[in-house]
Amino acid sequence: MAVCVAVIAKENYPLYIRSAPTENELKFHYMVHTSLDVVDEKISAMGKALVDQRELYLGLLYPTEDYKVYGYVTNSKVKFVMVVDSSNTALRDNEIRSMFRKLHNSYTDVMCNPFYNPGDRIQSSGSDAAEPGFPVITTWIPTCEKRMGGRPGHGPCPLGFPRMPRPLTAW
């Protein structure tokens, strides 16, 4: 199960960072911060590599004794870092990839939200209902609530606003 998820902006400051509330959270913040060096290294290595090798998913950045850190970078140089508990050996690579893909989709939706100013910290309503092993991150849109990995547009809005239709995602 992922114990910490972070979204880091292009200029290397955190836009969103959330850890499982059980442990010493500062340790995870520090781990994410140190993993940025590894991310930068991988990005520059990718730049010099062969034509076909460029990929968004960076893979395992570095393992520690209790945790493994995975990275992903988007085309706009926004980095996603995920810290996973090492004791869960059943977690496979493609599951991590799908988690990152969902995170990327959520981040893109936040970007397309006209009430969000790019560069601000991302406000997220408290969530952490555990679905099969992964924390669910809900992104707070002013009048409706969207669950990552769930079906958007369903579920009640706590403020009692009428449910808005799903926004257009493409021209």
């Binding site: 292009k10 990718m46 730049g47 034509v51 460029r54 990929e55 968004l56 970078v73 988007t74 085309n75 706009s76 140089k77 990327h104 989709n105 981040y107 893109t108 970007m111 397309c112 006209p114 790019p118 995602t169 493409a170 021209w171």
Partner: protein
């Protein structure tokens, strides 16, 4: 299917709304304009604050395009792999961005390899309904401001600071000049 028409109508209305108060210096309007009206004398009224108001409207349009471009720059390249160099980003603009917004590709891309790119569209969808030839040439720039902002916003999300200007020689052909700012 109706998506293209929706955007064209919305864009027309945006331009019309922002230009609505320029031709009619009546009572009301924004506080800035009323203040300007009081400051300047009657003879200068129409020319001076009309020009200022027009510049503000152009930058409002460009700002709107910029924000939309930032969002599109995040969403459109989502599945494609990372870009290797600047020329790839410009090619992405000409192909994927133009197809997503205007349902056609850009007609030509030229560069001087020193940071200046000229993108030419021979039948720009936002101008094609207006006229064909030299008519309405002076009205054309306000219809291009949003698109200039769109290009600048997408480039900024992809990590390139730029300055985008547009020029029209005869409708509906227009050229967008992108100058990359080297920091």
């Amino acid at each position: 299917m109706a998506d293209a028409a929706l955007f064209e109508f919305l864009h027309m209305e945006m331009v019309a709304e922002l230009w609505a108060h320029h031709s009619d210096p009546g009572p009301g309007g924004t506080p800035l304009l009323t203040l300007l009206r009081q400051i300047f004398s009657r003879e200068h009224r129409t020319s001076l604050y009309a020009v200022l108001g027009q510049k503000m409207s152009l930058s409002v349009l460009e700002g709107m395009g910029f924000r939309v471009g930032q969002a599109l720059g995040e969403r459109l390249p989502q599945e494609t792999l990372a870009f290797r160099e600047e020329l790839d980003v410009l090619k992405f603009l000409c192909k994927d961005l133009w197809v997503a917004v205007f349902h056609k590709q850009m007609d030509s891309l030229r560069t001087n390899h020193q940071g200046t790119y000229v993108l030419q569209d021979n039948s720009f969808p936002l101008l094609i309904r207006m006229a064909s030839g030299p008519q309405y040439l002076e009205e054309a720039p306000k219809f291009l401001a949003f698109t200039c902002g769109l290009l600048r916003g997408t480039l900024s999300t992809l990590g390139i600071k730029s300055l985008v200007t547009a020029s029209v020689a005869s409708l509906p052909t227009c050229k967008f000049q992108v100058v990359i700012q080297k920091t």
